[in-house]
């Protein structure tokens, strides 16, 4: 072990017997780090090296926005203390990989150093999309994915009088919220008719749109970007919309999705499409080379309603867990994600989803949507023709993951779900009893007579969940 560490630090090549054991992970995001941790749990000795050029330590990518907003500093976003890595024998190596010699099992870094590997795990994440707009490479035009992106955003949003954010997805609204926290007026350009409408049904999309406007954001739906304008010195001075309108601004956020970060592997023997092609065990076409997280593309989607590329924190974690199991076990398992879940926060409104709720109702399925009078709390329940629960969207109402994981797995009928919602609620104590309002609405709409569950005084007093 010690011998090995010295070798990595001096950047030289290992003797063959050490290389054959060395597991090298490119990328220190949630996928790579989860994989490393789980390998270490199962094997105390195997040498593990995590490579990243971005930052020395693992940080929570989803928390980048909070650094900009002043809620936290960078060090608060690190899920593990800096001494964790050494304690667990996880070698960290900060460098950018410039190429991989798969035939000789060697990595070449940008500074010319090389490193051998026994098994290679690619967890390189994503890069923000750009669609060839004129001016998209100007100074002050960027996406938000990496820590360097955050530093760049900090630098380019000083003393500007307006910012424009393009793209109606999760990173877009995060960027808008960040800019709002600094009192920078924002124009938010969304091409689609509804916010995030490739995921959200109309009612939910409208709810979020209303809330965005409530934060004094100049939200423009069904608006397209035509070009980004140069101030003559290589810096952005505004944007031109497809309808010809020009908006002056000092910063443009391009948040029109992300794509697997695989440029290093293009033109090598590694099989890629949009991402690195893998089978259900994350095996690429090259032996001892695996890909997980955002950069991996399944040849066959891991389940009905699942995509070939999963770019979510939670799936990255599951990829890492599963691959680590396979690397350390003779009997291989294929990646079988359970009931889908995801969450986000749109300014002040939290969103959770369990199961699969498509934006457009499918033939035969039926749905119950309830929104409270404030217009900021909503719950959608989706059922199939057999009255089995398929999924939910919850806004401003925290829901218990275990409850819906079970209810969806077991396919509970609508009445059962509705009558047990009080057990599902994960809102803090003393919050409004939303399930009562929902039951009233459900009874009215469906002509049912489900009773609001009563809790005795004692049950209330001791906070019993039953």
């Amino acid at each position: 072990m010690l011998f090995l560490i010295e070798k990595i630090e001096s950047g030289r090549i290992f003797p063959m017997n050490e290389i054959s054991k060395n597991i090298v992970i490119i990328g220190n995001g949630i996928s790579g780090v989860t994989c490393a941790r789980n390998i270490r749990k199962r094997d105390q000795k195997v040498p593990i090296t995590i490579i990243s050029g971005e930052t020395a330590h693992f940080f929570s990518r989803t928390a980048l926005m909070y650094i900009y907003m002043g809620h936290m500093k960078y060090e608060h976003t690190k899920p593990y203390a800096d001494d964790f890595w050494k304690k667990n024998g996880l070698r960290l190596h900060q460098a950018w990989v410039s190429s991989v010699d798969f035939a000789n099992k060697r990595l070449v870094f940008q500074n010319g150093e090389e490193m051998g590997y026994g098994q290679l795990i690619l967890a390189t994440g994503s890069i923000p999309n750009k669609f060839g707009w004129p001016g998209e490479n100007l100074e002050g035009v960027q996406g938000l994915y990496s820590y360097p992106d955050l530093l760049s955003m900090e630098k380019h949003t000083q003393s500007i009088s307006r910012a424009v954010v393009v793209g109606g997805g999760l990173i877009g609204i995060e960027m808008v919220e960040m800019l709002c926290s600094r009192n920078i007026p924002v124009t938010f350009i969304v091409r689609e008719k509804g916010f995030w409408d490739n995921v959200l049904p109309d009612e939910e999309a409208n709810l979020v749109s209303r809330h965005i406007r409530e934060h004094h954001v100049d939200l423009r739906m069904e608006t397209e970007l035509a070009a980004i304008l140069d101030d003559g010195k290589g810096r952005v001075k505004g944007v031109q919309l497809a309808n010809g309108e020009i908006i002056d601004c000092g910063f443009v956020g391009l948040t029109v999705g992300v794509s697997p970060n695989i440029s290093v592997f293009k033109g090598t023997e590694l099989e890629t499409s949009r991402g690195i092609l893998v089978d259900e065990t994350f095996q690429t076409n090259i032996p001892d080379v695996y890909a997980i997280g955002d950069c991996a593309e399944f040849k066959i989607p891991p389940g009905p309603d699942r995509k070939n590329i999963e770019q979510v924190w939670y799936t990255g974690r599951m990829h890492g867990e599963t691959l680590a199991f396979n690397l350390m076990n003779k009997n291989q398992v294929s990646y079988q994600p359970g009931i889908w879940f995801n969450s986000a926060k749109f300014f002040d409104i939290e969103y959770q989803t369990y199961g699969h709720v498509p934006p457009k109702l499918r033939e035969g399925d039926w749905t119950f949507y309830w929104e409270d009078s404030s217009g900021k709390i909503a719950l959608r329940l989706l059922f199939n023709q057999q009255d089995q629960l398929l999924g939910i969207n919850a806004f401003g109402w925290r829901m218990r993951h275990a409850f819906f994981d079970r209810a969806i797995t077991e396919g509970w009928e609508a009445d059962k779900v509705v009558s047990r919602l009080h057990q599902a609620s994960f809102n803090p104590e003393f919050y409004k009893d939303l399930h009562k309002l929902l039951i009233v609405a459900y009874n009215k709409e469906k002509g049912k007579s489900i009773r609001v569950p009563k809790r005795s005084f004692i049950q209330k007093l001791i906070g019993s969940r039953a």
Binding site: S181, E321, F325, V333, S334, H401, P428, E429, Y431
Partner: protein, 514 residues
């Protein structure tokens, strides 16, 4: 709105400056009748005599007055000590009452005016600043810019504030004679409530209560929409105003001992001190009730309530120290240290203080019942060490003075013996836990950052584990700041409360235990 807030800030600063300057105003002139009035009969003759050189002299600063007083007073005591005439040495503190009595000038002649100009303006200014906060903003987490704030992120404003607080506590505990004008200023209020003159502790109680009330209103603004925070804040405001401030003063009005019914031993470390026991035993039925109630709280109240609700029922709903931490201290909650090392120090310290308090009380009670000379010596020694090191230096100077440096729960986390006791019950026999919601954690770190007790909440949440920690005071802020709805404070069945080997929901490939 900005104008109102700026006016408020200006008024607050003016009030604070006047408050700071008041002790220096006026002149000091001692007369022999004043000495006679303010000394015990056994010391009267001597005191009147030794202070003779001071009479009818006008001092233009209290520094000169107090230093002159001590030169005469100490000269007398020192000569007795040199001759080892210990029984004649005067151990009583006459500096405070005599400085207070000798003060002449604007403050004694119009105390209410100065009360308004100092504390009054500060409260008014504070409210003017706080009430318009977040107006026209939607309900939600208001943590924007905290780490850019000089006040809240250990910048120069924070350092100045901490230094001021530390200075105030040092003077309050050990040099109260320098604060006498401030005490004179609140005399009329004390007369009104308890029928007696104010002490420095009345002044402190008043400022403390107003700080909780005004900053409690700030909590309503900041956590608008969060019912748990609102109700909890109402609770600490209520208990401070009634139980800790008004009721004890009213008891005094009816010739009862000053007593805070919600203060529990060993936080109330003097509960079993001889003078307290005598005070309660000599006060009839109500005094008896105080004694029985106090003991019931210790042996039944704490375990039962903590079993059902966790230690939060006391620490963040009732307690005065907790009340100040949760209101005045809220802007500093993110400054607590989350490292493993500080957790280790915390466990040694807080349990060490608990052991100290228990041993001291044991010796005190043994002495009380046995009246054994040697034990009496030990009792006095222990009391003075505890009172100085824990009661004053730790709980006051460090506990509050260090808000802007180490967060708002330094005392509660590292020092409070009652918190240690409550914590042991909470850890081993309670229905309270913070539930982690399946696999929804994104490791963002907001929960850990804003935990005032320095618990690395994320460490549990990201592995799908419930948080069961003896130090958790159940403030609920981790749950409030969580962007993904992962944390919920709840009381529930004991089974499954501590899940050391959690399974993160969502991955059916393997049964993964983290």
């Amino acid at each position: 709105m900005k104008f109102l807030q700026n006016t408020g800030l200006t008024l607050f600063v003016i009030g604070l400056v006047i408050f700071t300057v008041i002790p220096l105003l006026g002149t000091w002139k001692l007369e022999s009748s004043m000495v006679a009035e303010n000394t015990k009969e056994m010391h009267r003759e001597v005191m009147v005599e030794i202070l003779d050189p001071m009479y009818d002299k006008t001092y233009h600063s209290h520094f000169a007055f107090i230093s002159d007083f001590y030169s005469h007073f100490n000269a007398y005591n020192d000569s007795l000590k040199a001759e080892e005439k210990w029984d004649q040495v005067i151990w009583d503190d006459y500096a405070f009452p005599l400085t207070k009595r000798a003060s002449v000038g604007p403050v004694p002649s119009s105390p209410l005016l100065f009360l308004f100009l100092s504390i009054g303006l500060a409260v008014l200014g504070g409210l003017l600043y706080i009430l318009p906060l977040y107006r026209n903003e939607t309900a939600g987490i208001k943590n924007d810019g905290i780490y850019f704030s000089s006040m809240k992120a250990r910048g120069w404003l924070g350092i100045v504030t901490g230094t001021y607080l530390i200075g105030f506590y040092i003077i309050l505990y050990w040099y109260p004679e320098y604060l006498t004008n401030l005490v004179i200023m609140v005399d009329p209020l004390s007369q009104f409530l308890s029928g007696g003159p104010a002490s420095q502790w009345f002044l402190y109680g008043l400022v403390y209560t107003l700080a909780i009330l005004v900053m409690g209103i700030r909590m309503f603004r900041k956590y608008r929409g969060n019912s748990y925070q609102t109700i909890r804040t109402v609770s600490v405001m209520f208990f401070q105003l009634s139980f800790a401030f008004l009721i004890p003063e009213i008891l005094v009005l009816f010739n009862m001992p000053w007593h805070d019914f919600k203060n529990i031993w060993p936080l109330d470390y003097s509960f079993f001190y001889e003078y307290r026991l005598e005070g309660m035993l000599n006060s009839g039925a109500l005094g008896m009730f105080m004694l029985v109630w106090g003991i019931l709280l210790i042996i039944i109240g704490v375990p039962i309530f903590t079993y059902f609700y966790g230690k939060r029922w006391y620490c963040s709903w009732v307690c005065g120290c907790g009340g100040l931490a949760e209101t005045l201290g809220d802007p500093y909650r993110q400054l607590s240290d989350k490292s493993l090392k500080s957790w280790k120090i915390e466990r040694y310290l807080v349990h060490g203080v608990l052991v100290f308090a228990v041993v001291m009380t044991g010796v005190t009670l043994a002495n009380y019942f046995m009246e054994f000379g040697l034990l009496g010596e030990a009792t006095n020694q222990l009391h003075s060490i505890y009172g100085f090191a824990i009661g004053s230096a730790f709980a006051g100077v460090i506990g509050t003075g260090f808000y802007p440096f180490m967060g708002n729960r330094v005392w509660c986390r590292f020092g409070c013996p009652l918190a240690a006791y409550l914590g042991i019950v909470q850890r081993f026999k309670s229905r309270f836990r913070i539930t982690t919601n399946g696999g929804q954690c994104i490791s963002c770190g907001n929960c850990s950052t804003y935990c005032e007790m320095g618990i690395d909440v994320r460490w549990y949440a990201q592995r799908g584990q419930n948080i069961v920690r003896s130090s958790c005071v159940g403030c609920g802020v981790c749950s409030a700041v969580c962007p993904r709805g992962v944390l919920k404070l709840e009381n529930g069945e004991e089974s499954g409360r501590i899940n050391d080997m959690p399974i993160i929901i969502g991955n059916n490939s393997i049964n993964l235990k983290s």
